[in-house]
């Protein structure tokens, strides 16, 4: 257990398979600018996304997980928020250096996103054909017959029954699960290098959610794109993700392979969070709840943001933010207890 600075840490993390990294985010900072002052929504987030990998970004509301996801595509709401620092490297190209028009060739073609609510993601007055066709027309220049055929093919791939009829439907004529498949079809239409998924199944029923998760997994296995999966649900992490990053107040407090995180969570927040979810397979005597509230990102102290709620808090935690500490090949944590 040694404290490393972030540079050497990353080189230690992936010495051999560096060329597998599709998306590399370094020290990303997205701040909110409001009347209440400056809020550090995303405050120095770093992660790598490798080919075929699914990284889960977990946290509670306000932890900055969705803002991280949107920032990768530079879709964070402006001028309320601004990316003020860091790098977003897509196969080595820094997306933060690109012009707006260059970004438009990245969004939808090289990095695609699936959002939470399929009803608001789809345009209610356009047919499915128009919406699936839009990306194919824009990014792949398809027209007429080939466009139609490709759209039908896509819907079939997403296991949508009767694709010809669905293409002529409007969003309100489809069920929630079907709509989210359409949204996924649009996202995957240009064979993106990275898929961002921001709570794609939260609005769905559990059995429909299970089917969509399995479908995404199958498609990923086939095409090999990495997924950044934003969620608050550890159950989804357990089923979908290879690695997990736990966010709290704008920072990643623990990063580990999924198996390690569930077996031996190291950060007190992760530990408490895992003990506060009931499970369907075992009887729970009593849930351990975390007392207090998450801190406001507008008034963060010098020290660890979790210190006010932490059962193991020490003097040092209140004055100094913990640096990233490597516990194992596949686990890092930001907590002074492990220093």
């Amino acid at each position: 257990m040694t404290i490393l600075d972030s540079q050497s840490l990353e080189s230690a993390a992936a010495p051999a398979r560096d060329d597998d990294v599709v998306l590399r985010v370094r020290d990303l900072k997205t701040y909110l600018y409001t009347k209440r002052g400056v809020g550090k929504a995303v405050d120095g987030v770093s992660f790598d996304l490798r080919r075929g990998e699914t990284l889960g970004l977990v946290g509670e509301s306000g932890s900055g997980k969705s803002m991280t996801c949107l920032s990768v595509l530079r879709l964070n709401p402006e001028p309320a928020s601004r990316i003020v620092g860091g790098q977003i490297l897509l196969r080595g190209e820094d997306l933060l250096q690109k012009t707006d028009s260059e970004m438009r060739t990245v969004r939808g073609r090289r990095i695609a996103i699936v959002l939470q609510d399929p009803m608001t993601a789809l345009n209610p007055v356009l047919t499915i054909k128009d919406q699936v066709g839009e990306t194919l027309r824009l990014h792949q220049g398809l027209r007429g017959r080939t466009l139609w055929q490709r759209a039908v093919e896509l819907l079939k791939k997403l296991r949508i029954s009767d694709p010809e009829r669905r293409l002529n439907s409007y969003p309100h004529q489809l069920s929630g699960g079907m709509r989210q498949r359409i949204v996924s079809a649009i996202a995957l239409s240009c064979e993106p290098e990275v898929l961002l998924a921001d709570e794609p199944t939260t609005a769905l029923d559990v059995t429909v959610q299970a089917a969509l998760l399995k479908l995404l997994k199958d498609l990923q296995r086939e095409a090999g794109f990495p997924i950044l999966f934003v969620t608050h649900d550890f159950g989804i992490v357990a089923r979908m993700c290879d690695t997990v990053a736990v966010m709290y107040a704008g920072k990643i407090v623990e990063k580990a392979s999924t198996a390690t995180l569930f077996r031996s969570p190291a950060h007190p927040y992760t530990q408490a969070l895992l003990r506060s979810v009931p499970d369907v397979l075992v009887e729970t005597e009593r849930l351990a709840s975390i007392e207090g509230q998450p801190p406001s990102i507008f008034a963060l102290s010098q020290g660890c943001a979790f210190a006010p709620r932490c059962p193991h808090v020490m003097d040092r935690c209140r004055v100094e933010y913990p640096s990233e500490i490597r516990l194992a090949q596949d686990q890092t944590v930001r907590c002074w207890r492990h220093a």
Binding site: V208, A238, V277, V280
Partner: protein, 325 residues
Amino acid sequence: MSGQSDTLLEASHVKKYFPVRSRIPFSSAKAWVHAVDDVSFTVRAGETLSLVGESGCGKTTTAKMTLMMEAPTAGSMRFRGQELSSLTGQRLRDYRGAVQAVFQDPWSSLNPRMRTARFIGEPLAVNTALSRPEIDERVRSLLVSVGLDPASAANFPHEFSGGQRQRVAVARALALDPQVVVLDEPVSALDVSIGAQIMNMLRDIQASRGISYLLIAHNLATVRYLSDRVAVMYLGRIVEEADSEELFRNPQHPYTKALISAALTIRPGEKTDEIILSGELPSAVKLPPGCRFHTRCPFAFKKCFVEEPQYREIAPGHRAACHLH
């Protein structure tokens, strides 16, 4: 395990059909949505009965009928033996005090323009003869019992976080000392760590006051943590009912199995058989013939397509409607 006497709420063969009308005003119904279609259950004193199922299964309509926000199309709902539809005057007011509700979204269930003291005290002001100072005293003790600072009585809802708002909603529901509280998705709008606080609080309140809960939820883990008995609903029917532990250890209906398999576990190593349901929920207007689950059931056989399975006891206290048994 219980006599007739400790049954509080009893629904027997309750149905609720909503008309689907054509666009011509005052025309008669073209068809009916079978939102709740022959549902029976009892809520006993001090226990939690959960109704689980996915959207459109009729669980919320059932809750609304218990709260008399909807009248059943057929069947009977009784509270302590009295038919709900026959209640009038003081008896109706007594019922409303005895059966209270906590809703899903504490952002819309609290009046944004009322201070907490008035919001929680309102049922007392309307239904009791207590004086203002007495009401204020009661409000303070209610706030303490839901884990809030009595000083927060002067706050408006926007000054609270989501978890605190849900505590305020619970305090109001408890104001008239109810015997049954209908909990309609009480934690699904809350964050994980806050949801745990609220679930623990609900269990503590039940233990100290001996009240009953009718819990409406879609999250099976929440249901398992809070319930004594569970009824699984599909397309307006209860398809399986059992004691909570029995239902989760030994599910019998294929739909219950699929629900449990779809509910994601976080215990590494614990692996359920993965049952992925195909297709969509059929329309509640035009119900499928035979078993209503056969269109999505992985085990459906010939009989399921034509004959509706009987809802019967397959083990003591464990009932299911499936031809496999």
